[in-house]
Subunit: 226 residues, 2 copies
Amino acid sequence: MKVLTLVSGGMDSVTALYDAAQSHQIVGALGFDYGSKHNPRELPLGVWHANKLGIPHRTIRLPFINELFDSDLLRSGGPIPEGHYEEATMKQTVVPFRNGIMLAVAAGYAETIGAEAIVIAAHAGDHAIYPDCREGFMQAMGEAITQGTYAQLSLLRPFIAWNKARIVQRGVELKIDYARTWSCYKGGDRHCGVCGTCVERREAFQLASVKDPTDYAASPPLPLKP
Amino acid sequence: MKVLTLVSGGMDSVTALYDAAQSHQIVGALGFDYGSKHNPRELPLGVWHANKLGIPHRTIRLPFINELFDSDLLRSGGPIPEGHYEEATMKQTVVPFRNGIMLAVAAGYAETIGAEAIVIAAHAGDHAIYPDCREGFMQAMGEAITQGTYAQLSLLRPFIAWNKARIVQRGVELKIDYARTWSCYKGGDRHCGVCGTCVERREAFQLASVKDPTDYAASPPLPLKP
């Protein structure tokens, strides 16, 4: 199947790229610069992996998100909260309908380049605090994409039944260099090790019993919070 | 209800703006510059009507559509076909998943500004050649927007059971100056009168028995084609 794969440069989407390359013809990889603090760190890594696999990559800029939307994930927002994913603090990092926007743009681009499906690295551990990660959203958005395109594009979610540790194990099989992926929402020179997404990254390697190649500024014992 | 209204500057969306102002609190109006030939003609008219009603208006630029997508509606595409809407020629004017992209961006912005619903001027005469105008798409996209936002935003389509002539009649009730709306896909100094959307505009006034205030470059008898 000819697929377009969303690749942010994080662990999940990079793994989805290598995984899709095994079973599909990847006709394009797409990254989005929507003005998050960590976009400048993660996006070049997505490009690096696409280049390694010989897949044409495009980065689409969505500057209106940083300019108009409220979220601490954005450069226009406040500081990134630390600790485990929890509703009270991590909710500040929600970018309203981000997945909806990225998938809609991907659908238009996929139709343009003749893809038959879009691959997104949504997984079972995606957080319920993000409404546009929930199953109900993904089901409806997939249907909207199928109904709204001539090609009746499918939305593929190969990791939807997996947790992040299972994704890491798959990545090891695929010989992915996870040192060349980025998670930290703070977007500094090194992974901070203590923001929600760094904690989640560290947990994934620990649960997968895989050596974590990431250079963290701090690595307090896990879990930081229950 | 607090609503965000999509306003292109065409007849339908301008009417939807005035209509929504009667029954809702409009907290914002949103236009999109996606690089069509007629965006520069229509968008300022949408702004004009929003200003007249005292509604905050934003234009969001989506330059990647003109740069990456294939469509004769775009400045990067070929000439606009003339004649009645027909699959063979008008299909060239489809911008892949345009409604999906505009609605997704609107959902994120609506969530940001505290709206409870999005109003779109989709109507019964919207053309089956555009997959993202069909009922199945709109139903699924509405569900994706509800599921994917904290506010569980609704997608309102007040004109969905109306044809374009009924919209014109509603606009006359609302005292809308249709000379300050734009339809022609060619985006010239005057409405050409012979492209698919000009023909549709002329038909709507004729069927509504309303005097058409539009300055057309040509007005051959309707219908041009069956």
